[in-house]
Chain length 301, copies 2
């Protein structure tokens, strides 16, 4: 079981090397992140994009791309399509977004012919290391799914469980986070949380996982707070996965902790046949490398 | 201008003393918070409730209530009504919820005859001291208004501006927080944020305040992140007030920072004729005392 990014890096670098196809790689920040990850032995790389510009950037900034495959594809949609095709054909094991916009890349990911569709909703899963917690915390979704319906939340939980099990968490426990512990018809998040727990009880998520809600943030993560509130739920205080009811909840939570607490973060898109690395310019170089490590560790070879 | 709780305590204790009416005071945790605040010279106190039980608790736990007024009113709705009446009559300057439930207390606060109505929506305003920020940050609403409409958001901003001006913030800047910086019709929070900025431009919030949105959390508070994103808005990076689009955003934000960052917090209900202290059992003794200090400093005498 992986409990920290240090453990994740060690485990990833000792696996048979995964190959990452980068869609539209001709961008300095993208190349820096990719070179950082390659140097740490986390991944092999195929750079799809404007090869001349890629080489120029690498030379100008002393980035060593000599061990990377280059595929020259100047037009952005074509570069995105080729990177996705490399993954669906098995030539690469994971995808990374370069300077192509997200919509263009996802159109290829969802393409019926060469895409990576599983029929499940794609969502962003953040994996966070919070020192006070002593374990990795998964959170979805602060960047992709705006206001998920109940059915979308079911898919998001399945995506999170896949990541949790991939990280070796034996009995992953998920909480659909709400603002209080009771079902209140005026608060849709509490109604959905109870419904998700029922779906879990009915077997929707399979064996070896748990879903419990409605629980608030403190009830989900803080055993003592849960006890103080009189909550006896076995998941309370032990959540591995926080499912957020709106994108704004996840977005503010993630950004507030990055800025004001001492945490380490990563994030990938889950729900396709292979992990997708989609970092933001606001991410630190460390966060970008963490995300590549996470995707590489979870990628199937 | 008050920049920290240390400054707030000093300023409050040097003001003419405010009187706080406590509705249903016969509860150990309530009495502990009240005695703590009284000892620090923050407030005079009138305890409305079961006087015999109040005295018994105080004696049993060595709490000094000798300087406090006691009004014997055993029945909870009657105690709530009397405490509210004390404030509306001017005999007290602020209200605190004891062990009466919130709905019962607010029914009296909103009573047409003896209540504290202003016609404006009541909301919870948290005031937080985040060391990295160097100023107090106001946030609404993590505990009261579930999914505010645009009109309710207007009232919430007015409440926040009242608190900010009460704390001496000269040109308070408010951001309706969203997950990104563009208006996206699929994200109601971004549509409302733009509408609130327009209402501000049209003069709805008066002179000497600013409203800017849509902005995400990092764009609102982090000048460098705003610059990095190419945001030139004058409020970006300088927000004093975060208006959250859903209760879950505020609730998770507040609880996550309390648990994982080194911050100080307080909170009051604003929008009535006088501040209302409404602490939760989950609040630390320090947070409870901070909230009483805040209400006392803002109360009009």
């Amino acid at each position: 079981m992986i409990r920290s990014f240090a453990e994740l890096y060690q485990a990833t670098s000792s696996l048979p090397k995964r190959r990452m196809a980068v869609a539209a790689a001709h961008d300095l920040e993208v190349l820096q992140a990719v070179c950082d990850a390659a140097e740490r032995n986390l991944v092999d790389v195929t750079l799809v994009g404007d090869a001349a510009k890629t080489k120029e950037l690498a030379a100008e900034h002393q980035l060593d791309i000599s061990a990377m495959e280059l595929i020259d594809m100047v037009e952005l949609p074509a570069a995105a399509r080729e990177a996705v095709r490399l993954v669906s054909s098995g030539a690469a094991h994971m995808l990374m977004k370069g300077i192509v916009d997200t919509a263009t890349l996802l159109r290829q990911v969802l393409d019926a012919e060469i895409g990576l569709r599983t029929g499940r909703l794609l969502c962003h899963v953040a994996v966070m290391e919070i020192p006070q917690l002593g374990r990795l915390l998964l959170m979805s979704d602060g960047g992709m799914v705006i206001a998920p319906t109940l059915e979308q939340k079911v898919d998001m939980l399945k995506n999170c469980f896949d990541v949790a099990k991939g990280l070796g968490i034996e009995l992953p426990k998920a909480v659909p986070v709400t603002a209080l512990e009771q079902v209140n018809p005026k608060m849709p998040a509490t109604v959905d949380a109870a419904a998700l727990q029922e779906r879990w009880q009915a077997g929707e998520f399979g064996e070896g996982v748990m879903v419990s809600g409605p629980l608030a943030f403190d009830g989900a993560l803080d055993e003592e707070a849960a006890r103080h509130k009189g909550i006896t739920d076995p998941v309370a205080g032990h959540a591995d996965i926080l499912l957020m009811p709106y994108i704004e909840v996840g977005n503010v939570f993630y950004k507030a902790l990055v800025r004001y607490a001492d945490i380490k973060v990563s994030g990938i898109i889950v729900g396709a046949k292979a992990p997708i690395v989609l970092v933001s310019r606001a991410d630190s170089p460390e966060a970008k490398c963490n995300s590549i490590a996470l995707a590489s560790y979870l990628a199937k070879i």
